[in-house]
Symmetry: C2
Subunit: 645 residues, 2 copies
């Protein structure tokens, strides 16, 4: 088979592939990141690359303009290598720069973190992570006392500290003779407590710098966030986040499960998150904090069910086929070396348990952090990230469901959509008369697209200013050069920013397809919540608190979210935003050993409701895809606002 | 630095090295085995290679004849690469063909094995290896019963078999979804019992072929022997053995410890035994038995202290420096993946504990197999392999020591010496009148050298026929063309086989240096035993049983061994030969779970005696280096035989 070489600019990474290979696949093989939300199906139009030279074949697409084509822009997933090529890729800028609202150094004193910690402490749970250090001095060996090093250590630990029957890993044993002698037999022994006794995880020189560290990780479908914590001072000493490199295999969990089922796919997609994402973030953390990886000895991970499967390399195939069965809910306690996490190889790995195929450890972690498990009142908890997961309940009952909202809240499947990162428009208002928009852009840069909170604002404002009707159709009557017909896609569109003001010179527009996609996403969340409540005989009026979490971001305007029918039209004071509750729960599990049992109890206590089998769900969904809803009685304040006009 | 390429024949393995590199080191790097008993110090003369072409420098040596040199023979360790070279090596034939008297298929009914098993069973120890299988059928998942695979398995195991809180390794979890569905949720679950509960180690189709296997391994300094056991039928189904590939780094433990202290040396020497030796033998076993490696789930290993350190990659440096401290006596229970043993990665690894730096798990294993730990009578146990280790005692007291006997009993450090393998002379008698020898050769081949038992015969016969005196000096008076003076080495020698009858056409001879080396070896063993006995106020007369084990082999003539003063001159009926007792003990630890505790008790109960600090040891040793001894009263039957003449 004929081989061709593809060189990717600007990294100059190159790869030799057989003629006919898909260009996106070639990039994946070369370790070049190309965002591919639709998983390479030619649907999302995000895998744009610029062909500098070389022969290729291509499939036709309406996602490129003739101007694009003239510039050499192609969709990587629809391009096939036919000869040696040079291709330019805006590599991984997207991945690495994604802003993740997480927990930052110093945030141990932040109100949200303090509140979540207090929830545990009120229950008598102590801030103890299960690590303890013993500073010990051994008598030096002699011909008369020629006990082996390890037995010498055991003897002293037993006599002086009453510690016995601990496990010692081979890695610790390997260097024990050198470490003991380099330190004149005065060392600090670090132990990890476990279900079946203690483990000696490190022996090291006794000095001030010898601290121990832990990391807590939120493995999101789109973004991964990690915090580094000093386990002695309990301080957050560094934070890092980036996109999940698995994005090159698809934006949603389904595309990734499909990719995992290809030859070698599971290994590659596992490596994308472990080596390509988490280990890189760990590199970043240890550099920032100037510590040694070996000293990171506990790690906690929260992710949705598919993410935890892929992270561990566990077969995910049956998550996506009826009856939707994950391989595990609770995974055994593992070590970093089992997975390839680049910290102390013997470090404890705690994966927060899942509930079901579409409600994972990230939600359980969120429930821990929000305190629903101990709440007397009725809480509606909504995690609006790449999908949308809902929990409703209190200390006596917790119901949960997953809405297939897709990635719209993070800008996915929307032509002008993007994640909350520099260049994203995150706030929009529209002048009711001139129909001219006013925007706010993240970072001091020209706008590139619109993120979740911006899209919510945009839809609400378009609706209230009459640009769209309750079906999301753009009015053909209004006089504005911003409202126009897209000849290629054969739909109406509204120009949010003119090309002369944007980063790439292209107009930022939203069209009726985008609007329809976003309405489906918000409809899925609202109807999901409603059905979940109804399934136990409740309605939105019974909700005492609404807690919102996830990538939709801090800048979400509750009022606008109600206006479009994403959030229920209830007393505004009931709403609060908790940020990345998945990461917050992982943080708690790192610092509070007993929290690791608590998340198991929570996962056990949560009842998963499969929306698709609920008889009225489809009708509810369709009704919720309108602005704000077909049943306006559910949205009294929207109704009164519209009536005012 | 200039690079040169060295090609090794006949394997054609090649390596690029910097100019000036030692040829032995180049071979090691290329993965070409060259025996190097002296560790590359130019002393043993065993690293002979043939230079076919190329530039090199060399150090002078008296170990090559001018004839050798003309043929292009050089010592690899004294040769330095100066240009591209082609070198011929009798690669690894030596290693792979070494005959190890071990345990063979069917030997579970062999008397020695039965006897050792009975010793345990008499104590109420059951033949239970700690593996159990559960054939289980899970209800197939549905929307109404959508519990995850792992939790489904746990639920059924708890309800039907009352098994809970078991550990499940990630490897098992990874493929659980596929295996369950491929077998319609009817599977066999295999568990390993452990100190802290059970571990699910495998799930597999339920069929007749689904057995589980274990291996027991004797890691000798010179040879490695492995048996494969079916853990259901308890049958020995295959055996394999070879030389320890670490021989390329030196014949004795000291050279290996020194090599391990070089840059990257520990990793290389670990790999030589794990990858180069044990994993190759496992390949051989699974091919012979036609089973899958994944189904080998327990492994037991017995080796001397240095071997166990190197096998695990644990720093051995302090074994060889005063006060001679090993890193560990008892190593924690490990898994195959921790070490890189190529069986089921989660397989249990049991390393038989050591006593001290020079009395290791091989001896403890031997003590288990011989039953000294429960013996009323006084047993002298001698393991005569590469070194010589002695145990004396009974159920109340066990003393042990190591003699620095070196490798002479396996033919090492003797010019005509070789291991017991095809071509080795293993029996010799000498006509008292003609001084002509009669020999027996192992295998149907021409003789190549003399192994341990042959050397003992040879010395005894030379002594009794007056060729050597009690100092080991060869008589200059006797009339025989077999007795001659070696002009190169300036010593007398005796020709055992004329060149025309040998494999390589060179005379097989023994000279005074060889004899002196052998006398030192036997002197070390005898004096060691004697000092050990004396240290508790006993003498050879108090010995009720002598059990001999190790590489010296089955063909050892007790009478001759007494004649030369290696074994004590006591009632012949007290002697027995147990073979490879290290392997036998490892076999017992594989099949009898409780034996794994027993060896720990044994190692604890054994008192190590450091001969070198014993005041009279040096005198004892010198006296024992005579034939049979300076104190003839210790050897009454030898005295009367000599008086008869
Ligand atoms: S003489 Fe070369 S290894 Fe011994
Ligand atoms: Mg999330
Ligand atoms: Mg041995």
């Amino acid at each position: 088979m004929e081989k061709c070489t593809v060189i990717f600019k600007p990294s100059n990474k190159s790869i030799s592939v057989t003629k006919g290979t898909n260009l996106l696949e070639a990039a994946r093989k070369a370790g070049v990141f190309i965002d591919a939300p639709c998983g390479g199906k030619g649907r999302c139009g995000k895998c744009r690359v610029k062909i500098i030279s070389g022969d290729y074949k291509e499939e036709i697409t309406s996602l490129l303009t003739s101007e694009d084509r003239q510039k050499g822009i192609r969709l990587a997933c629809l391009t096939f290598v036919e000869g040696d090529m040079i291709v330019e890729v805006e590599e991984s800028k997207q991945v690495q720069n994604i802003l993740v609202e997480g927990i930052k150094p110093g945030d141990e004193k932040n109100e949200r973190v303090l509140k979540a910690s207090k929830l545990l402490e009120e229950e008598g749970i102590k801030k103890e992570c299960g690590v303890f250090n013993i500073d010990i001095e051994l008598p030096e060996p002699s011909i008369d006392d020629n006990v082996a090093d390890f037995e010498r250590l055991k003897r002293e630990l037993k006599v002086k500290y009453n510690i016995e029957n601990f496990f010692c890993s081979l890695n610790v044993l390997k260097n024990m003779p050198k470490i003991l002698r380099e330190n004149n037999f005065k060392v600090r022994a670090t132990f990890l407590k476990g279900k079946n006794g203690c483990e000696l995880i490190r022996i090291k020189a006794r000095n001030k710098e010898t601290s121990t560290y832990g990391i807590c990780v939120d493995i999101g479908t789109t973004t991964v966030a990690v915090n580094l914590i000093d386990l002695e001072s309990n301080k957050i000493i560094a934070a890092a986040s980036s996109g999940n490199l698995q994005m090159q295999y698809g934006g949603d969990v389904i595309s990734r499960i499909i990719y995992a089922s290809t030859e070698g796919g599971l290994e590659k997609i596992k490596s994308a998150v472990v080596d390509g994402t988490i280990n890189r973030l760990i590199d970043e953390l240890v550099k920032k904090a100037n510590i040694e990886k070996q000293d990171i000895i506990i790690s906690t991970f929260a992710g949705n069910t598919t993410m935890t499967h892929l992270f561990l390399g566990v077969e995910p195939a049956y998550i996506r086929v009826e009856p939707y069965i994950p391989a595990f809910r609770e995974c055994p306690e593992l070590k970093a070396k089992d997975i390839g996490i680049d910290i102390n190889p013997e470090a404890k790995v705690i994966v927060i348990p899942n509930v079901a195929s579409y409600v994972g450890g990230d939600i359980v972690s969120g429930v821990l952090a929000t305190g629903i498990w101990k709440e007397e009142k009725n809480v509606l908890f909504m995690d609006l990230g790449t999908n949308g997961e809902i929990v409703f309940g209190n200390k006596d009952l917790m119901l949960t469901c997953a809405c297939s909202a897709g990635p719209a809240f993070e800008g996915g499947e929307i032509s002008c959509g993007m994640r909350a990162m520099p260049g994203a428009i995150d706030e929009i208002s529209i002048d009711r008369k001139t129909l001219e928009p006013k925007i706010r852009v993240i970072g001091n840069v020209k706008p590139k697209g619109i993120c979740g909170s911006g899209l919510i604002d945009l839809l609400a404002e378009m609706f209230l200013s009459g640009i769209i009707n309750s079906k999301g159709e753009i009015s053909k009557e209004l006089e504005s050069d911003r409202i126009r017909f897209d000849e290629d896609l054969y739909v109406m569109e509204y120009v949010v920013v003119w090309g002369k003001e944007t980063a790439d010179g292209r107009d930022i527009t939203i069209n009726e397809i985008d609007i329809s996609n976003f309405l489906k996403a918000k409809g899925a969340v609202y109807s999901g919540s409603n059905v979940l409540l109804k399934s136990v005989g409740f309605s939105m009026d019974d909700v005492d608190k609404v807690i919102i979490a996830g990538g939709i971001g801090q800048n979400l305007h509750i009022e606008n979210a109600i206006m479009i029918g994403l959030l229920p039209d209830i007393d505004r004071s009931k709403f609060s935003y908790i940020g990345n509750s998945s990461l917050l729960g992982a943080y708690l599990c790192l610092l509070y050993e007993q929290a690791r049992d608590k998340v198991k109890e929570i996962a056990d206590a949560m009842t998963y409701v499969e929306l698709s089998v609920y008889p009225s769900y489809m009708d509810e969904f369709i009704s919720a895809c309108f602005l704000p809803h077909t049943d306006m009685n559910l949205f009294p304040s929207v109704m009164s606002l519209l009536n005012q006009k």
